[in-house]
């Protein structure tokens, strides 16, 4: 009952954010310098053609009416037409989305075990050499540009050694794993250090909590305290961080998809920015934001489910 109220309240909180997201993506198009119709039609368009397109797009109507019809269209799944591909934006998104989702999941599968291992080792050896070593690795991970690493990896492991394909997505599950290995590893090398830093901090903070001192006073072995108490209590803050990081990861996938020519949402985004395919940019921005909100919501609900304290 309690958790249902919590979920209900959480859903209500999302409504203003969704309205805000729709406003931002609506006004994004308004930020185009100059007249979008003339940009799309080119400099040699006749006045009649410009007026016709303006009417077709509804640009002759007041701005609030334009916004309302934008929201109406969006709710029915109509994100407009791609100017370049001449197909509905939603179709494009649905076609490119699975590749990015596969990549993101792959990165998580590679990063999470490494993160937990490194953070636990670092936290249990706080201040000693394993901790220092992991700290150096994590700082390096934060400073190395993913696209640079990607370029070097693609040429070395892909072209020179020929171990992995350097572009595309492949056919079938195993082939996907093979094609996306280098992209996933390059991204993990950046994500895992960030997560490790935070999980390590959470673990050390828990180490200093009162209940740990109490367990020690009871004479419980250190390893037992760590597994049963410290690790469990560090899961929640890390889970929340993971939600934030997935949003980051979705953004970070753009560069990796370009380096390794993976035909995902990020590649579509960059392609449409370079090709001035405004409705695809607008639609993608909206889809990305809704995905982020959905992930955050899912993690909040999941957190509330495993730890009733948070829903109070």
């Amino acid at each position: 009952m309690n958790s249902i109220t919590f979920i209900g309240r959480r859903l209500l909180q999302i409504v203003p954010v969704l309205i805000g997201i729709s406003l931002v993506s609506f006004f994004l198009i308004m930020m185009i310098p100059g007249d979008p119709v003339r940009i799309v039609l080119g400099p040699r368009a006749t006045e009649a053609a410009v007026a016709a397109m303006r009417q077709e797009w509804g640009l002759d109507r007041p701005i609030w009416a334009q916004y309302l019809s934008y929201v109406g269209n969006t709710l029915t799944g109509d994100l407009g037409q791609s100017l370049k591909f001449r197909v509905p934006v939603l179709d494009l998104v649905l076609q490119y989305l699975p590749r990015t989702m596969f990549l993101v999941a792959y990165v998580l599968v590679l990063s999470l075990p490494a993160t937990i291992l490194m953070a636990v080792i670092a936290a249990r050896n706080e201040g000693r050499w394993p901790d220092q070593l992991i700290r150096v690795i994590s700082i390096l991970g934060m400073t190395i540009p993913v696209f640079w690493l990607g370029v070097l990896f693609a040429r070395y492991f892909g072209v020179k050694l020929g171990w992995f394909p350097v572009s595309g997505y492949g056919e079938g599950f195993v082939d996907h794993l093979h094609h996306l290995f280098l992209p996933a590893v390059s991204t993990s090398l950046w994500l895992a250090p960030l997560l490790t830093r935070n999980l390590r901090a959470a673990l050390i903070e828990q180490t200093e909590a009162d209940y740990v001192a109490a367990s020690r006073a009871k004479g419980l072995p250190e390893g037992y305290i760590f597994r049963r108490h410290i690790l469990r209590n560090s899961v929640l803050p890390t889970l929340n961080l993971l939600g934030v990081m997935i949003a980051f990861l979705i953004g970070g996938s753009v560069v990796v998809e370009i380096v390794y020519a993976v035909p995902g949402l990020g590649a579509l985004m960059v392609g449409s920015v370079l090709g001035r395919d405004y409705f695809v940019i607008q639609g993608l921005t909206l889809v990305y934001a809704i995905a982020t909100v959905a992930i955050t919501l899912a993690i909040d609900i999941f957190t509330a489910a495993i730890d009733p304290r948070t829903s109070e």
Partner: protein
């Protein structure tokens, strides 16, 4: 089972303090070296960064070209040195712009509270609902590729972190006695905010700003690489890596050196930030 290990070793304050200092000094030295290189590019760079030399295309590193030449015969070392100007400028402007917006919003929201606060924080919620890099690309996409538009995009997107930080600090500071006293003495709100509140919230945003600079530079170079940031033939490190990508097998030096430049510059910022925050934590 009876293995009652002593609690985690408690470090005496002194070595930790020194630790932070060494880190910060190392970071500052790296940054200083890059600043000198950037300002003195005209003196240090052996060649004009955009001078084409079609006879010496793709030359490996040698005595004449320490970092080799690229596919147009341009000297990679000179381009890396001149690139420091662009990337450092990008880091500086890309931090100052959102910082200015964010601090202003945070001060206003935290100090006045009420409806102003609610509205401003709703705007923050909406902005963070978008993945950072995606929103930046989208804004650069509609405004057009280029460095200035990247900075504008940052001012529109990256301010939220500063606003949240400052607001949280202001909520604490404004209850302190000296602020209450200033108010009782009849000082106007702008005076209290600028003279008494602002100086006390600068510490935490300074530390954050150093880390933010790394993100700004990495994201900016990524945009340059994607063709959405600095435009060729500008000697920007991300652009240079993109230029070298097709040749990386036979001419690894074109891509390698700008990347190392980025790593060392970012390392400088992160070490300063880490060192400062460690020192503060101990002295606090």
């Amino acid at each position: 089972m009876t293995d009652v290990v002593s609690p985690a070793p408690v470090h005496p304050a002194a070595p930790r303090f020194r630790h932070g200092t060494i880190e910060a000094a190392l970071g500052a030295a790296l940054l200083l070296a890059w600043l000198i290189a950037a300002f003195g590019a005209g003196v240090f760079a052996p060649y004009d960064p955009n001078a084409l030399d079609l006879v010496a295309m793709l030359t490996p590193p040698d005595a004449a070209h320490w970092f080799g030449t690229d596919h147009l015969g341009r000297d990679v070392l000179s381009r890396v040195i001149y690139g420091a100007r662009i990337d450092i400028w990008m880091g500086f402007a890309g931090v100052i712009a959102p910082l200015a917006v964010g601090v202003t919003v945070g001060l206003i929201a935290g100090y006045f509270g009420g409806l102003t606060d609610t509205i401003l924080m709703r705007i923050v919620d909406i902005t963070v609902a978008f993945p950072f890099f995606i929103l930046v690309i989208a804004i650069v996409g509609v405004l057009g590729p280029g460095l200035v538009n990247y900075i504008i995009a940052l001012a529109l997107v990256a301010w939220v972190a500063y606003a949240r930080l400052v607001r949280a600090e202001v909520l604490v500071v404004k209850r302190l006695e000296y602020v209450q006293a200033a108010r009782a003495l009849g000082f106007s709100d702008p005076v209290i905010i600028l003279r008494h509140v602002l100086p006390n919230v600068l510490g935490s945003i300074t530390i954050y700003a150093w880390t933010d600079a790394v993100m700004v530079i990495l994201a900016g170079a990524s945009l340059g690489f994607l063709g959405l940031g600095a435009q060729p033939p500008t000697a920007e490190w991300g652009v240079m890596i993109a230029d070298g990508q097709p040749y990386v097998l036979q001419a690894w030096w074109i891509c390698l050196f700008p990347g190392i430049a980025m790593v060392t510059l970012s390392l400088g910022f992160i070490l300063v930030s880490d060192g400062l925050s460690r020192r503060l934590r101990v002295s606090a």
